[in-house]
């Protein structure tokens, strides 16, 4: 359990400390709300933790048609950014469902993304919003779409020695997040469905993603394709629900059975679509 703890003040120092060849590995420490219990429970055996708290990563910026969210920005600060509520309502409602306020004062978006929990409440909306990541290592920077970054439960394409510098999310995007839990507050979702609308796409303006999958949260492109227009007909919605349920492998664990999750996926997708349609109307109304 004994590990070293470092507080690098520059990226160079951080990358040196996060040496990809080091054994046992050095792990980056952001909020620590997930990592520390995992280390204490023996799921990780790091040789060192490299705190990112002294690096200039807790940033938030609106740049044109994107918001740029620094990797170590605490979730609570993100949630209280007025731009998030106004421009990304679906993401905003998911943010408020993560843990508790004291937890969100330390937990970070970069940490949540890197962790790639199958039950994350933030990954479905970020996937539906077509978020991408700016990753940085001693070799430079690379940008990767979130959908390509996630590889499996707790599994990503993040390389050792690589940090999440920023999460990029296009704005504005009407959207919504619908989830189901055994206990409404302070629990882990059994299924979460996010939908969002993009402005121009010949195939479909809908972006849909869900958590509670057998693997990591995923886009449901089959369901998206069933919705050719912003204001879908009841028949189109049912077709989307049908495709989502048929084309998806869902988890079967102590939090919910596979059959119930499949049922929920349809219910929550319907609800999320309806809510996003309403939000799109009101966001348009606000702009005109």
């Amino acid at each position: 359990m004994a590990y070293a703890l470092h507080f690098p003040r520059s990226f160079e120092e951080a990358f040196r400390l996060l040496d990809p060849q080091g054994q046992p590995p050095a792990l980056p420490l952001a909020g620590g709300t997930d990592l520390l219990p995992a280390v204490e429970a023996g799921r990780w055996h790091p040789g060192a933790l490299v705190s990112l708290s002294r690096l200039p990563l807790a940033t938030f910026e609106r740049a044109g048609d994107e918001v740029l969210i620094g990797g170590t920005l605490p979730l609570r600060r993100l949630e209280r950014e007025p731009a998030i509520g106004e421009l990304l309502p679906g993401f905003a409602e998911a943010l408020r469902e993560v843990g508790s306020v004291p937890l969100r004062h330390r937990a970070t978006l970069g940490g949540n993304v890197v962790r790639a929990s199958p039950a994350s409440d933030l990954l479905p909306p970020l996937l539906a919003l077509e978020a991408s990541l700016d990753l940085r290592s001693q070799h430079g920077r690379r940008r990767v779409a979130l959908v390509d970054f996630l590889r499996g439960s707790w599994e990503t394409t993040l390389q050792r020695g690589e940090l999440v510098e920023r999460i990029r999310v296009p704005v504005p995007r009407p959207g919504s997040y619908r989830w189901q839990r055994v206990r409404p507050a302070n629990d882990i979702s059994q299924v979460g469905v996010a939908t969002a609308l993009v402005t121009s796409d010949a195939r479909s303006p809908w972006r849909i993603a869900a958590g509670g999958m057998e693997s990591h949260p995923q886009r449901l492109s089959g369901a998206e394709a069933a919705l050719p227009q912003e204001d879908p007909s009841p028949g189109e919605i049912e077709e989307a629900v049908h495709r989502a349920r048929e084309g998806t492998r869902l988890k079967d664990d102590r939090r919910a059975g596979e059959e119930y999750r499949r049922h929920l996926l349809g219910v929550l997708l319907r609800r999320s679509i309806t809510s996003t349609v309403e939000r799109a109307r009101s966001m348009k109304g606000r702009r005109t």
Partner: protein, 177 residues
Amino acid sequence: MTGEPPLTLRVNGEERTVPEVAADTRLLDLLRWRLGLKGTKEGCRTGGCGACTVLVNGESVLSCLTLAREMERQEVTTVEGLTGTPEAEAVQQAFAEAGAVQCGYCTPGFVLALVSLRREHGASPPDLPTLANELGGNLCRCTGYYAIVRALADLLGVPVTSELPKSTFTVEPGGSP
């Protein structure tokens, strides 16, 4: 334990230097066992109950999920440091008067979380449902939360609104046939 560096931080307004703080020491344990501040309670130790809530630079955090050495040169406030300030006394008094303190083990955590929320919202105080919702990470097993909501409503000077837990209690004759 030897060879670990000292840690300097501000606790309850005073600069403190604690020798030999191991890397994996939690803020909770530093406060309780190195600084003797036992008002911060140890509950579940996994971020699920809120009993160990303290303020770091004025914001509520879970001291069980925070490494002590992350606090280098930061300002940590515990219930001992907050007690006596008007903002804490108001909360403590409201809890006591509403009957929201039974076993009391969760209460300091509630006080700190609530003070942090009221500071955070500042000039535009949240309505009662928002405040109640944002206290959702603090668990209480004794009161069923009714008295806690009464305390919140008293603090805000508003009645308990319809969607929040509200109870009435009467003692009546008529128990015998």
